[in-house]
């Protein structure tokens, strides 16, 4: 019971601990997954931003280049380039500014690459060749519009600009000149103003050669095409990655995309620190949730643990109650299966509890009637109690339980139905009690009644019969027979008296009312009385007959501590037994000897003796050996019980040495009286005589 419950509670707590561990693992996994998904989300965001930005930038530049190309395609412009005066050209440049206010400057370049006019006007630039700028030279040569970056030397401060070049053709289709317009790099951001960048993200534009047009690296003339994101975007791909951003010392989440119409590249860079901070915040949040979950789980575990513990304790207490009951207790289900058995049940059957619980009544318990026929479950009072819904008990000793060692234990059984609140019969609780002792006592009682009635009736028969003879035939009998009859009456009356004395003694001993008066006792004097009382002469009443009792007592034996009258009774009992149970022609000895602080008295005979079993039971109440030699001699089986009780009350010891057929020696030992004082009783008597 106990073990099962604590195992269950341990299992429950263990399961909860596993649950907590699973929660912890899941939480950690959640944090990791969240971090990874957040990173993915940031990457996606930057990629998206890069896409949008590249697309916006591409279309903004394309639309501006388209504007410029449309303008340049106006055939009326060609004569101005070929034949116009410088004043006309300057005016045109200024007019362009008015018509297209989005550009920072306009240059009008002749067919030979000579800068003819500029708006805003700047000193020293008109007349210079622009052919040193490859993109411009290519545009003039091919007649195709282009977008490029460069430094407009004349513009102060010298600023990195984006140059849009649109060649002007005459009616014949020949290149008559070229209009270039510039956009400051700083304004590129404004072109993609519709694209929303998150947090600290920055937008960086690179040209087809990998030069940074905006951002911290702009104008450093370094080619960044070796940077992964730039290189990939220049290759026409878009994507996102974590890596070093050009111009920054630390890692960024970078979204990259090509600007299709120009061959340029847009990078959207988000510093990692931001991501880390967000991840840290997330971790913190998840951590806090985790701690709360753990605390809750721990609380639950503690609560459930203590609940289970108290439940288990409650169970244990109930179990201990049943376990500590001395009687066998079993709970039987209505189908006859044993659901519970206490240790006393194990002792009754000799079986381990595991072979009882869970098995059927008929298999677990071997119950037999007096004739040895097994009792079926349906006949048992357990089944009867469940059927009749009332307490049923066995009577008498007819029911016996077979012990594994082969013994048949008489049992008394009480069965009570186990009823649920709604009155349903759940089973039966059965209490089994070993009634061997009761049966023994009962048998003892009836044997006592039989013995006592026999022991009473026999002397009574003699008293009555001899008295009737004396009364009715006194004349015929003659004096000798009359004396014999009177003697028989006397000894029968004495026998009756002794029987009553014995019964009273037993009653007093058993009720604890017998008192002893211990003092110094002279054994020699006691034995004289024993000789007188037992009258062991082979022909009682005849003065010259030889006594069978031989007393041997050493001189100088110290007095002993005992109740004198009780000591006489003890020795009379032992001597009477010795005389009774040995042949009438054999002597009986009473020998005393001092052993240390004790005086030991042995009463020995050459009688029938005792077997080993008889020796162990010889001092028991109402015990008489069951054999002819013993039955031949009358007795109640009380003498030695009384004797032993009397010896023990006087702090003495009693034991027996005997062998069957060889006679017995009963020993009693009493402590010697303290040496201090007026000496032995004999000495006292002598002193008394001297005084008298």
């Amino acid at each position: 019971m106990k073990d099962r419950w604590s195992t269950r509670s341990r299992l429950a707590v263990g399961a909860l601990a596993v649950l907590v561990a699973v929660v912890a693992v899941l939480g950690t996994w959640q944090v990791v997954a969240a971090r990874s998904s957040q990173r993915t989300e940031v990457e996606d965001g930057e990629l998206n931003a890069a896409h949008l930005a590249s697309s916006a930038l591409g279309s903004a530049l394309k639309s501006r280049l388209q504007l410029l190309s449309n303008l340049a395609a106006n055939a009326e412009l060609a004569p101005i380039f070929t034949k116009g005066t410088p004043a006309q050209l300057s005016k045109l440049a200024a007019t362009l500014h008015l018509v297209y206010p989005g550009f920072a400057s306009f240059d009008l370049i002749g067919a030979k690459g000579r800068l003819d006019a500029r708006w805003p006007q700047a000193a020293g630039v008109v007349g210079k060749s622009v052919l040193d700028q490859p993109s411009l030279a290519a545009a003039l040569r091919t007649g195709q519009p282009s977008v490029s970056q460069g430094v407009q030397q004349s513009v102060a401060p010298k600023e990195l600009v984006v140059l849009l070049a649109a060649p002007v053709r005459d009616k014949a289709g020949r290149v008559a000149g070229m209009i270039t317009a510039s956009l400051p790099s700083s304004s590129l951001g404004a072109l993609v103003g519709g694209v929303r960048l998150r947090d600290d993200a920055t937008l960086v534009v690179f040209d087809q050669d990998g030069h940074a047009l905006t951002g911290p690296a702009s104008g450093d003339k370094v080619t960044y095409s070796s940077v992964t994101a730039v290189g990939r975007a220049l290759g026409g791909r878009s994507g996102a990655l974590i890596g070093q951003a050009p111009g920054y010392g630390q890692d960024h989440v970078i979204g990259y995309a090509p600007v299709l119409s120009t061959g340029w590249v847009v990078l959207v860079e988000q510093p990692m620190s931001q991501l880390n901070a967000q991840a840290a915040a997330l971790t913190e949040r998840l951590g806090a949730i985790g701690v709360v979950v753990l605390l809750l789980a721990a609380g639950t575990v503690w609560f459930l643990g203590s609940l289970l513990g108290s439940l288990a304790r409650e169970r244990q207490r109930a179990g201990a109650l049943v376990a500590s009951v001395g009687e066998g207790v079993i709970a039987v289900g209505s189908d006859g299966t044993l659901q519970l058995a206490n240790p006393a049940m194990g002792q009754l059957t000799g079986l381990p509890l595991s072979s009882l619980v869970g098995r059927h009544w008929s298999d677990a318990l071997s119950l037999v009637d007096t004739d040895g026929s097994p009792q079926a479950w349906e006949e048992s009072i357990a089944a009867q109690a469940a059927r009749e819904q009332q307490v049923v008990a066995t009577t008498g000793y007819e029911l016996q339980l077979n012990h594994v060692d082969g013994r048949r234990v008489p049992v008394a059984m009480t069965a009570a139905p186990l009823l649920a609140d709604d009155g349903e019969v759940l089973g039966t609780v059965v209490v089994l009690r070993d009634v061997s002792r009761e049966r023994e006592v009962d048998q003892l009682k009836s044997s006592l009644v039989s013995t006592v009635s026999h022991e009473l009736r026999t002397p009574l028969t003699m008293v009555q019969g001899f008295a009737e003879l004396l009364v009715t035939r006194s004349g015929e009998l003659g004096p000798d027979r009359a004396r014999e009859a009177a003697g028989q009456i006397l000894s029968s009356a004495q026998r009756l008296g002794r029987l009553i004395d014995d019964l009273l003694s037993v009653s007093r001993i058993d009720s604890g009312k017998l008192r002893v008066d211990i003092g110094a006792v002279d054994l020699a004097e006691v034995l004289e009385e024993v000789v007188r009382v037992t009258d062991s002469r082979s022909a009682p009443g005849e003065a010259d007959a030889v006594p069978r009792l031989r007393v041997e007592i050493p001189s100088g034996l110290p007095t002993l501590m005992a109740d004198r009258d009780k000591l006489v009774q003890i020795l009379v009992n032992l001597v009477s037994n010795a005389l009774k149970y040995s042949p009438s022609d054999q002597p009986v000895w009473a020998r005393a000897v001092q052993r240390g602080d004790y005086v030991e008295i042995a009463v020995s005979d050459h009688g029938i003796g005792l077997s080993e079993t008889e020796r162990t039971k010889v001092f028991e109440k109402f015990n008489r050996a069951d054999r002819a030699e013993v039955r031949k001699v009358g007795g109640t089986g009380l003498g030695l019980y009384i004797t032993k009780s009397l010896v023990q009350m006087q702090h003495g010891r009693i034991w027996v040495e005997s062998e069957i057929g060889c006679g017995s020696s009963f020993f009693v030992a009493f402590p010697t009286a303290p040496a201090t004082g007026p000496g032995t009783a004999k000495d006292r008597n002598q002193q008394l005589e001297e005084v008298l």
Binding site: S453, H454, R457, T458, P459, L460, T461, M462, Q464, G465, F466, E468, L469, T472, E476, L477, R481, E484, A485, Q488, S491, S492, A628, E629, V630, R631, K632, G634
Partner: protein, 123 residues
């Protein structure tokens, strides 16, 4: 002269029966135990056996059966003499073949009458 066998483990009871019936009319012999009783019965062929039920070595009923089953002892009358007075004992005695039943304590005069009547019937 008729022969009487008294079987009882109590010396006093034997003495009482002997004193009661010892008027010179009968030869009286005594046995303490069952086996001894059967031997003496075969030896002396008594006319009447006064038999105690509770004997040390065997039951008086067994002694009764032994006597009654012995063809040499067909003329022997058995009267049970016992302190046990339950009706079942009476039944047992009859079953064992006893001719009569006498309960302790008994009156010597009644016993004398019983013995006389039993022996008279035999003649």
């Amino acid at each position: 002269m008729s022969t009487l066998l008294i079987v009882d483990d109590e010396q006093g009871v034997r003495a009482l029966v002997r004193m009661t019936l010892d008027s010179g009319e009968y030869e009286i012999i005594e046995a303490q135990e069952g086996r001894e009783a059967v031997e003496l019965a075969r030896e002396h062929r008594p006319d009447l056996v006064l038999l105690d039920v509770m004997l040390p070595d065997m039951s008086g009923l067994e002694v009764c059966r032994a006597i009654k089953s012995d063809p040499d002892l067909c003329g022997t009358t058995v009267v049970m003499l016992t302190a046990r007075a339950q009706t079942s004992d009476v039944g047992d005695a009859e079953e064992a073949g006893a001719d009569g039943y006498f309960t302790k304590p008994f009156s010597p005069i009644a016993l004398t009458r019983k013995v006389h009547s039993v022996l008279k019937q035999q003649i």
